[in-house]
């Protein structure tokens, strides 16, 4: 039931957000443009003309990729946040806990400044660098924390924090060393969906989908893990394999999100936390519902980011933090008084 309602709310949000901007398109027009866009993609229809063509271009070519990418990134971050909170049994964990953001940020900044060879990758230099940076950082962190075949949680988090700080220092150094590119780097670091396109989506969405399937398969194991690792093992849960699978899948989702949209904060912390307060801790419900609300939240945040002081865009990470921080504090207060 919460899943159906949430999905409906997300679809409404997407149609609504795709209609708003410098040129306003009513929801009916958005749906019609989506229909024509889909028909043309599969070759069942020819491009329209006149006003139809303008609406199609705005909705199908410009806004919809951005809105859908926002939804994909929001879903990925909320899913990863919920998974990290579950596997570390800590409601304050977020997708960047193991250094994915710092790794992506450092690699992206380095690619922007020193990436002379990256044009080989076309427009993909920065996203590929960010993805590799995020994933490689988490791999290094896990490798540092592991003891044989097991990965104890406290050393893992400590290694994540330490490696993360070192990489952030590296990013600061790159920023200072290349002042003229600093604004570009900074706006990437704060997150932006400006570079959305169907091509980027076609790469990011399957990665997020794979991560989502793995995490959903781990949902019941995560529930049992809440009893503690010893009790979970005594109930037949392969604790170490579960932890590695969850961390790997959540990192895949995070890296995909960060590589496409930069470092967007708060979605992965606030959304899973809020959904947990509303629905309870059962990961079978929590993971999909958190993903859907993460998607809706980021679509709305990006809508605010691109319209509130139009034609200038705010970094979407600034919006999520501005909205997320007070919301989170309110939740915490409510929880403490309850």
């Amino acid at each position: 039931m919460p899943l159906l309602v949430s999905t409906g709310a997300l679809l409404l949000t997407v149609v609504f957000a795709a209609g708003i901007g410098t040129v306003h398109v009513p929801p009916g027009g958005v749906l019609a443009a989506i229909g024509r866009g889909l028909a043309q993609t599969i070759g069942a229809a020819a491009p329209g003309d006149g006003a139809t063509r303008v609406a199609d271009t705005i909705v199908w070519q410009i806004r919809l990729p951005r809105v859908v990418l926002a939804a994909t990134v929001g879903a990925a971050l909320a899913l990863a946040g919920a998974a990290f909170q579950g596997v570390f049994r800590n409601p304050l964990a977020d997708p960047y806990l193991l250094g994915a953001a710092s790794g992506a940020g450092f690699a992206a900044a380095a690619a922007m400044v020193y990436g002379a060879g990256l044009p080989l990758l076309g427009g993909w230099g920065v996203p590929v660098a960010a993805f590799v940076g995020a994933a490689a950082t988490v791999v290094v962190v896990v490798a540092l924390a592991r003891r044989g075949w097991s990965v104890p949680v406290v050393p893992l988090i400590l290694a994540g924090v330490v490696i993360g700080s070192s990489l952030s220092a590296g990013t600061s150094f790159v920023l200072l060393a290349a002042r003229e590119q600093a604004v570009g780097i900074l706006s990437w670091l704060l997150g932006s969906l400006t570079f959305a396109s169907w091509d980027r989506l076609a790469v990011a969405a399957p990665l997020v989908l794979v991560a989502a399937v793995v995490l959903l398969a781990c949902a019941r194991g995560l529930n049992v893990l809440q009893l503690g690792e010893t009790s979970a093992a005594q109930l037949g849960v392969p604790v170490e394999a579960l932890k590695v699978a969850v961390v790997a899948a959540a990192t895949l989702a995070t890296a995909a999100a960060v590589s496409m949209a930069g470092v967007i904060g708060f979605v992965g912390l606030v959304v899973p936390h809020a959904v947990r307060l509303a629905l309870g801790p059962d990961h079978v419900r929590l993971l999909p519902v958190a993903a859907i609300w993460g998607a809706a939240f980021l679509v709305l945040a990006d809508l605010v980011a691109r319209t509130v002081i139009s034609p200038v865009e705010l970094p979407v990470g600034v919006v999520t933090a501005l909205v997320g921080a007070p919301f989170f504090l309110a939740l915490l207060r409510r929880r403490m008084s309850a």
Binding site: R89, L216, A217, A219, R220, G221, N223, V224, Q226, L227, G228, T230, S231, A233, Q234, L235, G236, V237, P238, R276, G280, P281, D282, V284
Partner: protein, 258 residues
């Protein structure tokens, strides 16, 4: 012909890191009996439970569950044979009583953790056994200590084990709930399980268990019926204090000298 014991430890040596906690422990528990594990703090009682449930590795000796070596069991297969009620079990906030008992069915779950056939019946049975069915829908954080203990026991029974290991099931409970927890262990034994109960209260142990095993400094000092194990001299040296044992109407009565 001798019966195959449900759980057997032979000369088990185990510990954590460089410290050795158990230095050669033998234990034999058969279906239908309740064995009390007693001894001072640090004697290795919880380590015995950890070794039997394979969360603490052992360095030497042998462990058999239902006659087969511990190593021959897969994770899930072992959890179907042997269930643990941990000491002072913390339950995660937000889950309902039924959801926690359902976790006992984990070793039977199918692909993607889908509920196995017969889960619903086993959960109901375990909850009726422990009288937790009445508050099945309540969140666990709203329960009293005694209710929580019963929920954890229900989770263990839902595993449908042959061996039930209870680590201090009476701690933090008032007298009535202590008696209830021990009665549930007895009931499980009557249902054909082998139960091992770690207890601190020796008088309770004498009443609730068929046999006692006294551990001290990682070795079994005495094993047998209460009248044999609860001996003033043995207890005095195991606990390092003066202990008197008087004959009582329902077995020996242990009185430490304060």
């Amino acid at each position: 012909m001798r019966r195959v014991p449900s759980l057997e430890l032979r000369g088990v040596v185990a510990g954590y890191g460089a410290t050795t906690v158990l230095s050669g422990v033998d234990l034999r528990v058969e279906a239908g009996e309740v064995v009390g594990l007693i001894g001072p703090n640090g004697a290795g009682k919880s380590t015995v439970i950890g070794v039997a449930s394979r969360v603490v590795p052992f360095r030497a000796g042998e462990v058999f569950v239902a006659g087969a070596p511990l190593a021959s069991y897969g994770r899930r297969a072992l959890a179907r044979r042997l269930a643990v009620v941990p000491q002072g079990a913390a339950l995660p906030d937000g889950f309902t009583v039924k959801e926690v008992v359902q976790m006992g069915r984990t070793p039977y779950a199918g692909l993607f953790g889908a509920p196995g056939p017969g889960d619903e019946g086993e959960i109901e049975r375990a909850m009726e056994r422990t009288d937790t069915w009445r508050f099945a829908a309540r969140p666990v954080e709203s329960l009293s200590g005694g209710e929580r203990q019963r929920v954890v026991l229900a989770r263990a029974l839902a595993q449908r084990p042959d061996v039930l290991l209870l680590d201090e099931p009476t701690s933090h409970l008032d007298l009535r709930y202590q008696v209830e927890a021990l009665a549930l262990a007895r009931q499980a034994a009557r249902d054909g399980l082998a139960a091992v109960v770690v207890l601190h209260d020796l008088n309770q142990a004498a009443q609730a268990c068929d046999r006692l095993v006294l551990l001290a400094e990682g070795v079994v000092v005495a094993a047998g019926v209460a009248e044999v194990v609860l001996d003033g001299g043995l207890l005095s040296s195991a606990y390092g204090i003066r202990v008197d044992v008087w004959p009582g109407p329902r077995g020996p009565v242990v009185v430490p000298r304060v």
